[in-house]
């Protein structure tokens, strides 16, 4: 299917302004949750391992 076909019009999803705002808020919320999870697991690792974090052999 070519986009150069004379009768072709891109059948894209067009969101209303209200829907765009909702989707943006949802994306921000998901981003914040994922960020918080990363911080939690990083902090938990440091707290659990304590000084042993620095005491490692390569």
């Amino acid at each position: 299917m070519s986009t150069e076909h004379p009768n072709f019009e891109l059948n894209a999803v067009v969101q209303t302004e209200a829907q765009k705002k909702v989707i943006k808020r949802r994306n921000i919320a998901i981003g914040l949750v994922l960020g918080a999870l990363a911080v939690i697991f990083f902090a938990a690792t440091i707290i659990r391992l304590g000084a042993n974090v620095a005491d490692r052999t390569f």
Binding site: N7, N11, T16, Q19, R26, A29, I40, A43
Partner: protein, 318 residues
């Protein structure tokens, strides 16, 4: 294909669709129930003997809160058709059409699995297993099995609301003790009179949804009698932590006074059985029941947080 007119006027796949907002997902978590769960779990965590790192304590409460939200979400998913029938619940996200049932189910399951796994990995697996059992108890045993079948639903099902302080306690100790069972008993015995008082003045809502609550099945006189019996039991349970030496005299004295107040309101419900006086008595009973539990647990929290412990033993004060 070459002759096919691909042109289309349909340009909006979301046309006419209200997308669920962040606030709608938040409502699925039953925030008011979550607050009570967080508070009682925090009390369990604080009164537990032993040390816990503040960060681990924070993670424990966070996981318990998320799992409570997950349980509320799964409850709303399962009951969305019933919710549409009741005035109190018809504006919830699913019956009002803001969130699709499948979205709620997926959201609830992700939160449930995530919170249980995180508690296990970062705190301890005993508390994690207990948390998983509590979600199962609330969603399957209470919501799916007991609630539509028996007027004793709130008596047996109320256990799920009484587990959080035991889970908070288990996050510190990794086990169950008599002290955590006493905390459980207070909420377990408190739940039936609290809910039945509410049922007395919103009975018709439950009848519309065909949910067999005690006032509809056994009648209001029997409900008033049961409220009175359970209130006496919870008043006794309220002072047990002091009698067993787990709480101080400040707590014990206040629990005694509050218990007598609770009994007084239960007697008013029992005595006023018709008209506006009956509704007023039930509403007062419901309001006081909330105050009763909040004050008892706040005192336990305060005693253990600030060390205001005047522990009682048989020979006097220590």
């Amino acid at each position: 294909m070459s002759d096919m007119n691909i042109n289309s006027n349909q340009t909006n796949d979301y046309a006419g669709e209200n997308l669920a907002d962040v606030q709608d997902f938040w409502e699925l978590l039953k925030p008011s129930v979550m607050r009570l769960v967080v508070f009682t779990a925090l009390v369990g965590l604080v009164v537990a003997p032993g040390d816990i790192h503040p960060f681990t304590a924070f993670i424990s409460i966070l996981c318990i809160a998320i799992s409570a939200g997950a349980a509320g979400c799964l409850n709303m998913w399962y009951e969305h058709k019933l919710d549409a029938l009741m005035t109190r619940t018809q504006n919830r996200p699913i019956p009002s059409g803001r969130i699709k049932p499948d979205q709620a189910l997926t959201f609830g399951l992700i939160l449930a699995v995530g919170s249980v796994t995180m508690l296990g990995m970062l705190v301890n697996w005993f508390a994690s297993g207990f948390l998983a059992f509590t979600i199962f108890y609330y969603v399957v045993i209470y919501t799916m099995w007991l609630k539509p079948r028996t007027p004793l639903n709130i008596v047996i099902g109320g256990a799920s609301g009484a587990f959080p302080p035991m889970i908070g306690y288990a996050c510190v100790t990794g086990n169950i003790t008599l002290e955590s069972i006493l905390l459980f008993l207070i909420i377990f015995m408190w739940t039936p009179p609290h809910f039945w008082a509410l049922n007395l003045y919103i009975k018709r809502d439950y009848e519309k949804a065909n949910i067999p609550m005690l006032p509809s099945v056994k009648g209001e006189p029997e409900t008033r009698k049961q409220i009175l019996i359970y209130t006496y039991i919870v008043a006794v349970c309220g002072i047990l932590p002091t009698l067993f030496g787990y709480a101080g005299m400040l707590y014990g004295g206040t629990a005694l006074v509050l218990g007598l107040g609770f009994i007084y309101f239960a007697h008013l419900v029992y005595k006023n059985d018709t008209g506006a006086a009956a509704i007023k008595a039930a509403k007062n009973m419901f309001a006081f029941s909330l105050l009763y539990l909040m004050l008892l647990f706040t005192l336990l929290l305060a005693e253990h947080s600030f060390g205001i412990l005047f522990k009682l033993n048989l020979t006097g004060w220590v």
